[in-house]
């Protein structure tokens, strides 16, 4: 891939091409997701190629403060998230975070989020790692989304416990995922890329019963 000094427009074309040739981990299930989704009940879709950045910095350290100034803050405890515009930081562990940003924030599409984080880290103790290819994102929405997840997740998903805007690293269908409740009836699930097909099919199967009328 020869790279030449290019004008902004040709750079944009390059970025569009870059995205067109990529295949997301659950691309083969896209049609199944569309046909398996039940409008107004529960819908499933893949949100491919989100920019994911792993951050590590000891809480309260100067490095953490510099990283926080780029992301707009770092969550302090388990389940915490900090949203700043279209970028959200999820808490994964003490001193470990995951930045979730739109696709365009990635450097291959002309974004500068990762570079900004790397220059904020400078030579401080910590890590900024591009993890975009590590996981894919499923979006499960609708009034039955919780019921679908409850079939395979041991967390208490009732809204009195699990509030919108919290994210937990846990297990769904016996595989490790990050579960982020983005709204009252919407969840984002981040499985590793290699688990995407399994989890996609598992969710489709779990959603299937809601296509039939409820048995009284």
């Amino acid at each position: 891939m020869a790279e030449t000094a290019a004008s902004p427009t040709s750079e944009k074309n390059l970025a569009a091409q870059n995205l067109a040739v990529r295949t997301s981990p659950a691309r083969q299930l896209a049609e199944a997701f569309a046909s398996g989704s039940l409008a107004g009940t529960v819908e499933l879709a893949e949100v491919p190629f989100l920019t994911l950045v792993g951050l590590r910095a000891q809480a309260g350290s100067e490095t953490a403060q510099r990283l926080a100034s780029v992301t707009g803050g770092l969550p302090a405890q388990c389940g915490g998230t900090v949203t700043n515009g279209d970028t959200t930081v999820l808490w994964l562990g003490p001193g470990e975070f995951l930045v979730v940003a739109p696709t365009e924030a990635h450097e291959s599409l002309g974004g500068d989020l990762i570079q900004a984080l790397q220059s904020a880290l400078a030579d401080g103790q910590g890590q900024v790692v591009d993890l975009s290819a590590n996981r894919t994102t499923f979006e499960l929405t609708g009034p039955r989304a919780r019921a679908v997840l409850e079939k395979g997740c041991s967390l208490d998903l009732h809204p009195r416990v699990l509030k919108a805007g919290t994210a937990y690293s846990t297990e769904v269908a016996n595989i490790p995922v990050i579960l982020w409740k983005t709204g009252e009836e919407s969840f984002r699930i981040f499985p590793r890329a290699s688990f995407a097909e399994f989890l996609g099919r598992w969710l489709l199967d779990a959603m299937r019963e809601y296509a039939s009328p409820e048995v009284p």
Partner: protein, 101 residues
């Protein structure tokens, strides 16, 4: 299924954790001075307690942090969860007391 209280994440299913064996097995001060018997005792010989046992666990599907736990090997009753590097919180002293790895 055990319900284990992770110090960072709160109560989670046992399936999210991995077991790390006996806690408080101190690394030898001068490993080069040990003979083969002593070295193998450090590497492979562990207590097989019937009753309260101090062991290490890691919350591998959550915060990925290690911690120590006092668990009854008969009743599976979890007596205490405490951070790595702290001594065993018990009235009956543990046999080999030392810094956790």
């Amino acid at each position: 299924m055990l319900l284990i209280s992770c110090p960072n994440c709160g109560p989670r299913d046992e399936t999210e954790f991995h077991y790390g064996g006996q806690a408080h097995v101190a690394y030898p001060e001068n490993p080069n001075e040990l003979n083969d018997v002593e070295w193998s005792r450090y590497l492979f010989y562990r207590a097989n307690t019937k009753g309260t046992f101090a062991e290490r666990w890691v919350h591998s599907t959550g915060c990925r942090q290690w911690f120590n736990m006092l668990r009854d090997t008969v009743s599976y009753d979890i007596k205490a969860v405490y951070p790595m590097g702290t001594p065993r919180p018990d009235t009956t002293p543990a046999a080999p007391e030392g810094a956790a790895k």
